[in-house]
């Protein structure tokens, strides 16, 4: 990772798109970088976390995306170049401040990167954040590969400064998580100390000021549109013929490869600065062809721009895309999907390979709690107590590794909307569902968006139990720090102190590796009127991987009842051919939860 900072101009590195973006920032006078982690953008933060100190860049993992955006914006109005990034849904959290950014403007380059996730490899929805450029009145840039992710950082800063607007950069999983060979330029980092000049009529959008600002923004966008028409990043690759393709982001790569492989005569318009939509350029392009295929993921945004252009100028061309059913309305594209669409547009079936398939049953391999994961014991304990007390419970869940409590054998997730929603929906469900509410939320998620909802529940005298699964890290996204952790130069925030200050009726902290103590804690919480909170505290095995002991099953004692496996589904435990259970020494992390479950006391320390 260090190489991303230390590589010399002219060097070539094999980088992820996300890593290349960091280098791009370092080569273009970045001063301030901030984020809240989220796949597929997380590696940008992981790299900055490693190198920011040495590079002389200010970097922080903020409490949530809104705060991260505000930190970056404050740098931009102090004359420092700033960069903030997040996963697509993170921009929903940051949206309130994002929507004012164009109105107030920026005084130095500011890039807001959104990493969209077509096909939802690790997300709760497939929203297309190109809409946010339109909603927030900011220019939009879409890279296609790691080299472009690096090179476009400098370009985006220039556009941002030229027009005094922040720039939205949209990547997708296939670009952020694509690796490629990237050429290095020279590192040139900005100063960390800026200079803020007070100008309230511009920077404070009181209604009277916002009224003027909106007009200013629209004028700026008209100027950006002229600029986009001539941008060197929006260009035509002319291979002849009467069919055109308009492509942005990863679909450009698919289109180019298919055209080359099949020697097709088509004209490709690669759009990179895609909003404001470069009408002049696109209109000229449309006039040079008979029909056009629009290759974009996820929503038909450029496609509708094209229809509107054709209508506006009374030009008639055939448009292939999502709206005529040539391409699907959902999910990411693939080379095969695009090849089919091109076949339709040219009227000739492009050759493909014979498809292979199998009739054999393959095992399902969904993600699972790591061996030794602290979440496992707590879910098991809740299950047992709920059964014992015959409670008709509902389980609002939240986003993190602990969402895997959804999986068998736990089935402890009934409702989930977004980060922090377990407490907000829990507050509502406690009144409307007719059930006893037990909400699950992680430490990072609690800081991110759980606190206002907990205040709401206490204020409204709701009766619910909140399980705060504090594994001392933001695990799901790869193990980033959060405000609850002790770190050099930072102040550790106590979850207990926050919860107590909000005034809950019951609070206790328990080690989830201790099943008996966990039972007691949950029982007490469930018999409390009002809001009760159980903090389950034990570090994620990713941060304390050193195992002191591992366990094994004494085959003499094991009766093959499978209570251990059926209750906690630890991936280090397997059933042997004779029906007895074995523990894999390599995989076992020594948490000892299974030991406490075995009725035969057959699970013992491995010597």
């Amino acid at each position: 990772m260090k190489e991303i900072l230390t590589a010399k101009p002219g060097d070539k590195l094999y980088l992820l798109g996300n890593e290349a973006a960091v280098r791009g920032a370092l080569e273009n006078r970045i001063s301030v970088a901030s984020t809240y982690p989220g796949t597929p953008s997380s590696e940008i933060g992981d790299v900055f976390y490693e190198i920011a100190g040495e590079a002389g860049v200010y970097f922080e993992f903020s409490t949530n995306e809104k705060v991260a955006l505000e930190v970056a914006a404050s740098a931009a109005v102090s004359g420092l170049r700033s960069f903030v990034w997040m996963k697509h849904v993170g921009l929903n959290v940051a949206a309130d401040s994002f929507m004012s950014l164009a109105y107030t403007g920026v005084r130095a380059g500011m890039i807001v990167l959104t990493a969209d996730d077509p096909s939802m490899f690790s997300s709760q929805n497939e929203q297309d954040n190109r809409w946010y450029a339109r909603l927030g009145n900011v220019p939009l840039i879409e890279p296609s590969n790691p080299q472009e992710m690096k090179d476009l950082m400098g370009y985006a800063f220039e556009v941002s400064e030229k027009f005094g607007l922040p720039v939205l950069m949209r990547t997708t999983t296939r670009v952020s998580h694509m690796r490629g060979v990237v050429d290095m330029g020279s590192v040139n980092v900005g100063s960390k100390i800026g200079h803020f000049v007070s100008d309230p009529t511009t920077l404070v959008p009181l209604p009277a000021n916002a009224y003027k600002a909106h007009k200013r923004v629209v004028e700026k966008l008209q100027a950006v549109q002229e600029f986009a028409n001539k941008s060197e990043w929006n260009r035509v690759i002319d291979k002849g013929g009467n069919l055109g393709i308009i492509a942005s982001g990863p679909t450009y790569n698919y289109a180019m490869d298919i055209v080359k492989e099949n020697n097709l005569k088509v004209k490709i318009l690669k759009l990179t600065l895609t909003y404001p939509f470069p009408e002049g350029l696109v209109l000229d392009f449309l006039k040079s062809i008979d029909s056009v295929l629009i290759a974009e993921e996820v929503d038909p945004i450029m496609e509708k721009e094209v229809y509107s252009l054709l209508g506006k100028y009374g030009v008639n061309k055939k448009v292939y895309g999502k709206l005529d059913g040539t391409l699907p309305m959902v999910y990411e594209y693939s080379p095969d999907i695009l090849k089919n669409a091109l076949s339709k547009a040219i009227g000739v079936k492009l050759p493909g390979k014979a498809l292979l398939s199998t009739d054999l049953t393959l095992p399902a391999r969904p993600p699972v709690f790591c061996p030794g994961c602290p979440h496992r014991g707590m879910y098991d304990a809740v299950e047992k107590v709920v059964k014992e007390l015959c409670i008709d419970a509902v389980f609002p869940s939240d986003i993190g590794c602990y969402t895997l409590g959804y999986m068998p054998p736990f089935h402890k997730a009934d409702y989930l909307l977004s980060m922090g929603s377990s407490i907000g929906t829990g507050s509502g469900l406690s009144k409307f569902s007719g059930k006893r509410v037990i909400s699950f939320i992680g430490d990072s998620t609690f800081f991110h968006a759980g606190i206002p909802a907990l205040i709401n529940a206490v204020h409204n005298n709701d009766t619910m139990t909140v399980m705060i699964l504090d594994n001392r890290i933001t695990a799901m996204t790869g193990g980033q720090p959060n405000p609850g952790m002790a770190m050099e130069g930072k102040k550790e925030i106590s979850i207990e102190a926050i919860v107590r200050a909000i005034g809950v009726n019951f609070l206790t902290t328990v080690n989830p590796y201790n099943i008996k103590a966990s039972h007691e804690a949950i029982k007490e919480a469930l018999s409390t009127e009002g809001v009760s909170v159980v903090i389950s505290r034990q570090p994620c095995v990713l941060i304390v991987p050193k195992k002191k002991v591992t366990f094994m099953v004494d085959p003499q004692k094991c009766t093959g009842c499978k209570i251990c496996i059926n209750e906690i589904a630890c991936p280090a435990m397997f059933v042997r051919e004779d029906g007895k259970v074995v523990v894999d020494e390599m995989l076992c992390n020594g948490c000892g939860v299974c030991v406490q479950l075995c009725p035969e006391k057959a699970i013992i320390v491995r010597r």
């Binding site: 296609s144 694509m178 690796r179 450009y252 693939s334 054999l360 391999r365 790591c370 068998p408």
Partner: protein
């Protein structure tokens, strides 16, 4: 240069991404272009981890159906899961030891005899090399060198676009110093075994 497509299949924790990193570095050294697509996220917690790689002039790393030249699978069921990316021209290098997912232990899904998965592939692909990479790694002195056994075995495939010398150089740069000896041994053993079979 003709594009060479490699599909690496495995399970979280087996070192799929690390393998592709070594391969990438070797390509940079040789001066050939490489692109790869990896899927992170939920895959870290014991899920399937696929990586798609193209070496040559391709811009896009995602392999079309049937487009794989070389399938490298760290696990038998994961190899068969990639069948739609393969054709009767595909060569496969497969580690024979299964990793049984928790869904099988819970009885809600089924893992057939791994031999069945392998013979299914043998009947459909051009050539399948099966290795006991786990034992080879152990013999080499480090169980974690399993991925380098697989890389070594792949390097013995005739069309493999990067030579051993580049791969070894890349390994020396990418792996922790104290692990290099075992990994080089693992790599060589994988190479020899697969070379004999191919």
């Amino acid at each position: 240069m003709k594009t060479y497509s490699i599909y690496i299949a495995g399970v979280g924790g087996q070192g799929v991404v690390k393998t592709s990193m070594v391969l990438g570095k070797a390509c940079v050294k040789k001066g050939v272009n490489i692109v790869m697509s990896e899927i992170h996220g939920m895959s870290q917690r014991g899920g399937s981890v696929p990586a798609e790689i193209k070496i040559g002039d391709a811009l896009n790393p995602v392999i079309e159906n049937g487009g794989t030249d070389l399938l490298i699978s760290f696990e038998p069921a994961e190899a068969l899961r990639a069948i739609n990316k393969c054709s009767n021209q595909t060569i496969a290098i497969i580690n024979k030891s299964p990793i049984i997912p928790f869904t099988v232990s819970l009885g809600i899904s089924q893992y057939l005899n791994p031999e069945e998965y392998i013979s299914e592939l043998k009947s459909k692909l051009k050539k399948v090399v099966v290795l006991d990479a786990e034992s080879i790694a152990k013999e080499s002195g480090n169980i974690l060198s399993l991925n380098m056994v697989m890389l070594g075995a792949s390097a013995a495939v005739t069309d493999f676009p990067v030579g051993k010398e580049y791969l070894i150089e890349a390994m020396k740069e990418s792996l922790p110093e104290k692990a290099i000896e075992a990994n080089l041994k693992a790599f060589e053993s994988g190479y020899e075994l697969s070379h004999k079979e191919l």
